[in-house]
Amino acid sequence: MEIQFGLIDFYLVAPALALFLFSCVPLLIKVLRGNVEQNSFATLVYGYVGLVTAAGLFAPTVGTERTAFEGALVFDGISSFSTAIVLFVTGIALTFARDSRSTNPRQFTEMVFLLLNCSVGMLTMVWSNDLIVTFVGLELFSLCLYMLIALSLEEKLSKEAAFKYFVLGSFASAFMLYGISFIYGTVGSTYLPEVFQASQNLLGTNRLFLIGFILLLLGFAFKISVFPFHAWAPDVYQGSPTPLTGFMATAVKAVSIAFMLRLVAAQAFTVERVWPFVDALQWVAVLTILVGNVGAFRQKSLKRMLAYSSIAHSGYILIGIIAAGIGGASMLGATGVMFYVLAYSIMTIGAFGVLHMLETRPDSDLTIEDLRGLGSQRPWLALCMTILLLSLTGIPPTIGFFGKFILFSAAVKQGLVWLAIWGVIGSIISVYYYLRPVVAMYMEEPLLARSNSDSKPMSYFAVALLAFLVLAIGLASEPAVQVVRASLIKVF
C-alpha cells in the first residue's frame, strides 16, 4: 500500500499547524527567560497572531470540497463553518481570560498555550473523516480543558470541577471508544464514508453495529449535556473560571454538534430498525428542554442559571438534529442547527463575558442581587447584557429568535409538531429567568457602590462586539441563513 499526500494536504491543515506553532512561542519565551512570565499583553498578542494567521490560512479554503491525508480529514461546509466559529470563540475567550480575576497572572502563558491547543483539538475533530481521528481530536481538546479549569486562581471549587469533568468526560469517551471498536468490528474500518455506506444495511441487521452507533452518539450527547448526561454541566460550569465556562459552553458544544450533524447526514435515522431509538431521542430532546428550563428557573447563581439554560439550548438544537436526520426535508433542519449553533455561541459567550466583567474576586459567584442597579451605574454594559439575554430568550429582532424560528419550523415541516410545541413551551418558561436579571439591572436600586476603576477595556470591546453581532446578524438573518444553507447544500 502506497501512502500519498502532498503539499496541498499540509496547506489544508495549516490553520491547526499555525495555531500550534504560535501557541509554543510564548511558552518558549517563558522558558528562555528562566520561567519568568512576560507581559501578559505580549502573550495575548502572540495568541491573537496565531488565531489571525490561522484564519488567514483558512479563509482561502472556504468553499472547497476536499479530503486530505488519504481521506482522514475532510473539508466541506460543516467543517469550514465550525472552524470559523471555533477560531472566533477562541479569540473572544482569550480576551476574557486575560482580564479575568480568576486567571493566575503568573500562569497566563500556560493558559494561552492550552487554549490554543484546545482549538487545535477542536479543529481536528470537526475536520475528521475517520473515527479514530475524531477521538484523538476530542481527547486533545478535553485534556486541555481539564487542565485549564484546574489552573484557576480560585482553588477549592475549580479543583473539584476539574476532577468531576475529568472523570465523567473520560468515562463518556471510554464508552464512545467502545462504540467505535464495535463499529470497526462490524464494518472493518473506521473511515466515515465506508461506515456510512455500510450503516444503511448494518443498522437493520447487525445488533453490534447498532450498539456501537448508539454508544458513539452517547459520547457526543455527554459533551453537549443532553438530558440523562446533563448533571455534570451546572457543577463544572459553576466551578470553572467564567471566561472558560463561556468557552466550554460554546466551542465544545459547537464542534460536538457539528460532528453529530455529520453523523445524521448519513441518514442513519431513516432505517426502520432505528425508529424506536429516534422516538427515544425525541423524548430526550423534550426532557432536556424541560430539565434545562426548570433547573434554570430555580437558580440563584447566574453562572448556574446560564449552565442550565445551555442545557435547554442543547435540547432545542437536538430538535433540529432529529429533523435533519429523518430524511425528507432534512436541509432545513441542518440549516437550522448550524445557524442556531452560531447564534448560541455568540450570545452565550457574550453573557458569560458580561458576568466575568462584574466579578470582583477570583471566587465570586454572582447572583441576581449583584446585578441590581447596573443600568444606572454602567449603562452600556447593562445594555449589552440586555441584548444578549433578550436574544437567549428569543425576542424578535435578535439572532436567537431567528435561530429558534428556523429550528421549530424545520420540525413542523418534518411532521414533528409536538417537538416544536415543547420548544415553544420551553422558551416561554425561559422568559422568566432571562428577564429577571434585566428587571434587576434597570428597576431595582443598587445594593453597593460599584467602582468604575477596573473597566477592562478589551473585554468591554469584545462584549459590545458580540451584542452588536447579535443584533446585526439578527437583522440580516436572511442573507446569513443563505450563507449557511449554501455551505451545507453539498453535504445534505
Binding site: 471510554a174 467502545y178 471498536s181 468490528g185
Partner: protein, 108 residues
C-alpha cells in the same frame, strides 16, 4: 464434551466477552469507588478493555488498522493518566485527602 470443546478453541467471542467483563469492572470502579486513584485506575481499565476488543476485531478481520488504533488509544490513555494524576496531586495538596466525599461544594 461440548463445554471443554468451547474452552479449547479460543475464538473472537471469548476475547470480546473478556473485554466486556474488563470494561464493566472498570465502569464499576469509577462508579462505586470514592478514591481518586482507584477511579483513575478504573478509567485506564476501561480504555484497555477497548484495546483488547480492537485487537480481537483486527485479528478476526485481518486488517491492520485495528492494531494502529490500539497505539493511538494507548497514547491517549497515557496522556489521560498524566493529566489525571496531576489533578490528583493538586487535589491532595489542597484538601490533604484523596477521597471525593469532601467534594460537595458545588451544589444547587
Amino acid at each position: 464434551m461440548p463445554g471443554i470443546e468451547a474452552l479449547m478453541h479460543i475464538g473472537i467471542k471469548h476475547y470480546l466477552f473478556l473485554s466486556a467483563i474488563l470494561f464493566s469492572f472498570g465502569m464499576l470502579a469509577v462508579l462505586l469507588r470514592r478514591n481518586v486513584i482507584v477511579m483513575l485506575m478504573g478509567i485506564e481499565l476501561m480504555l484497555n478493555a477497548v484495546n483488547l476488543s480492537f485487537i480481537a476485531f483486527a485479528k478476526e478481520s485481518g486488517s491492520l488498522s485495528g492494531h494502529i488504533m490500539v497505539f493511538f488509544v494507548m497514547t491517549i490513555a497515557a496522556a489521560e493518566a498524566g493529566v489525571g494524576l496531576a489533578l490528583a496531586v493538586a487535589i491532595y495538596k489542597k484538601f490533604h485527602e484523596l477521597n471525593i466525599r469532601f467534594f460537595e461544594h458545588l451544589r444547587g
